[in-house]
């Protein structure tokens, strides 16, 4: 009995993380949907979000949730700049989509190494009130920080979805995802939409970073890499193009990580994630909810 409760506690903590995975994956999904570009730097930008929170809290005594707003703006702006450097110049040329893979890889690596140089590789964490308060649900304990991170992620996803459905800009974004040529014909400025979408995606990653930083004990420059991989796994698992599917997918991947932690011990939990990912590629690469990709 005690075993079970410890197990479900573990799985639950990772499932909570799944909510944040979903938020990160959402940004990636939007970027992919609009411009078929792969942003390898996404996890690193999330890492910058973590550090933003860290420095804002430590230097300015800011509340992490306010820091989330700061991160949203800061990372959004940075995202815009990166888009103009690495994506916009190549995306419309032949082979542009593949090229973005490499150009964002370059950015990813550059961000990581600058972070290593500036902040050293040692893991950091900071204290905040949310970390210390605990909630108990059905015999499972979770810190307020995790609960807030999870709920805010879901709220953010909901807000983005509403934005996509109701605002003019959101509809323009959806138009471009579905038919870039047609969108241009009706007068939508596709490059501006791309810029906006990329910035938004990155801003969301920044927020996700702040949310995670409230309870994640290992804020370090290389933290982003694992997030990169996991977020993409979540996106593919959900299927490119589905917003709410990411939530479900994020939760499942989180749970799989939890199970992996039980089977392989915590340090090797991602073995299960990797195996599941390869299986998904083999069996159902279009994911659970995605629009079926054209065969061939």
């Amino acid at each position: 009995m005690i075993e079970w409760s410890a197990y479900s506690q573990l799985i639950f903590s990772y499932a909570i993380l799944g909510g944040v995975y979903a938020l990160t994956a959402l940004g990636l999904s939007l970027i992919w949907g609009v411009m078929r570009a792969v942003n390898w730097a996404h996890g690193d930008l999330l890492m910058l979000g973590m550090y933003t929170a860290y420095w804002m809290v430590l230097l300015l005594g800011m509340d992490p949730l306010i820091a989330a707003i700061v991160a949203f703006c800061l990372l959004g702006a940075l995202g815009g700049i990166l888009h103009l450097i690495a994506i916009e110049p190549v995306i419309e040329k032949p082979g542009g989509h593949e090229a973005t893979l490499l150009s964002t890889l370059g950015i990813s690596v550059a961000i990581e190494s600058m972070a290593l140089i500036l902040w050293s590789p040692s893991p950091r964490s900071y204290d905040n009130i949310y970390k210390g308060i605990y909630l108990e649900l059905f015999g499972i304990r979770t810190s307020l920080a995790e609960a807030i991170a999870f709920s805010l992620s879901l709220i953010a996803i909901f807000l983005v979805d509403q934005f996509m459905k109701r605002s003019r800009l959101g509809k323009a974004i959806r138009a471009v995802s579905q038919n870039p040529i047609g969108a241009r014909v009706v007068g939508i400025n596709v490059s501006r939409i791309r810029l906006f979408t990329f910035s938004l995606g990155v801003a969301l990653a920044g927020v996700a970073g702040v949310l995670v930083s409230t309870f994640y004990p290992n804020i370090m420059p290389l933290a982003g890499v694992v997030w990169d991989i996991t977020s993409y796994i979540v996106v593919i698992f959900a299927g490119l193009g589905s917003i709410y599917g990411v939530i479900f997918s994020g939760l499942i991947i989180g749970i799989i990580e939890g199970i992996g932690a039980i089977i392989f011990t915590n340090a090797f939990r991602r073995i299960l994630v990797g195996l599941v990912f390869l299986a998904v590629l083999l069996l159902r690469p279009e994911g659970l909810f995605g629009r079926a990709l054209r065969r061939v």
Binding site: W40, A86, I229
Partner: protein, 317 residues
């Protein structure tokens, strides 16, 4: 013209070593090794247009295969290198098989996830692989591919680098190579002219992984000590990609050009700022990769070719 340049360079490379000290030779050993690895990646990355971002996995699998065979069964690496290649090649085929069915970033993601998985498994399966502490190669002697002087490694790596160039020159004219290039240019059109695109892609990935696996053995024999976290690293995968792309992906000379330029610089940066770990040299690779992709997509070789072609036109008036 090109042939004369290459023969001259080759002669230079052959007679240079007695005039260099151990340290400079070691640098050149690494140049040739990374050139070879870049060329191995180029088969699927440059010619096939399918970017693998986890090639370090094949490097690691190759290194561990030959090293385990050496340490457990006394098998000489001269034979072990081939088995290393086969194991890595099989892994490449597996990853390719799983991730090359659909168009898009699936291969890149598959290879990167596979690299993470490989690193974790190599660390986790302690009883077989020695876990996080890795394996030391204690044997010495020519029959164990362990040399006491850099000059022997130099000639060995040079041989592989030359092999790489010759292989790619042959490859790009071979029937299979042409199919791979065709599908890179346009997958639909390639299918329409009768090419089994999926099969060609997977085979290309397998060949690339095979060659990389052999490189893993060379690396292990040179460095004498392999560990999952220092061998199967995203850094190495990125480095391979950056070197080939900067030099000129999809050509036989991109690897050597990229390595000749980037490897010495990165080693120099590492030496200069020792305390900052890999921070600075990997920054170099990232920035250079970004600049080349945006400004000079054909890499240095592509740029030279166009530059010379234009000058040729001017000369002809």
């Amino acid at each position: 013209m090109r042939r004369y340049l290459m023969i001259a360079a080759l002669l230079l490379a052959l007679i240079l070593p007695p005039f260099l000290d151990e340290f400079s030779l070691a640098i050149l050993v690494q140049v040739f090794m990374w050139a070879y690895l870049a060329m191995a990646w180029d088969v699927i990355g440059g010619y096939g247009g399918q970017f693998s971002l986890g090639h370090a996995a094949f490097l690691g699998l190759g290194a561990y295969t030959s090293t385990l065979l050496l340490e457990n069964f006394g098998l000489t690496p001269w034979v072990g290198i081939w088995i290393a290649g086969i194991i890595a090649g099989a892994a490449g085929a597996l990853v390719g098989f799983a991730s090359l069915r659909l168009r898009g970033p699936f291969f890149a993601l598959g290879t990167i996830a596979f690299a993470e998985l490989t690193q974790l498994l190599l660390t986790y399966l302690k009883d077989i692989t020695g876990g996080p502490l890795g394996i030391m190669i204690n044997e010495t002697g020519f029959e164990y591919m362990v040399f006491d002087k850099q000059i022997y490694y130099y000639y060995l790596m040079l041989a592989f680098a030359i092999f790489g160039i010759l292989f790619l020159e042959y490859f790009e004219r071979s029937k299979f190579g042409v199919a791979l290039i065709a599908l890179r240019e346009d997958e639909d059109a390639a299918e329409a002219v009768g090419i089994d695109v999926y099969r060609v892609k997977v085979l290309g990935a397998a060949i690339s992984a095979f060659l990389t696996g052999m490189g893993g053995t060379l690396y292990a024999q040179w460095i004498h000590y392999i560990r999952p976290d220092t061998l199967v690293r995203l850094d190495f995968s990125t480095q391979i990609v950056a070197i080939d792309v900067v030099g000129g992906a999809g050509s036989p000379y991109g690897g050597i050009i990229g390595a000749l330029i980037l490897v010495p610089i990165s080693l120099y940066l590492n030496a200069l700022f020792g305390g900052m770990i890999a921070g600075l040299s990997i920054l170099l690779y990232g920035v250079v990769l970004l600049i080349v992709i945006v400004l000079m997509p054909g890499g240095i070789y592509g740029f030279l070719r166009r530059f010379l072609a234009r000058r040729g036109d001017h000369a002809r008036g």
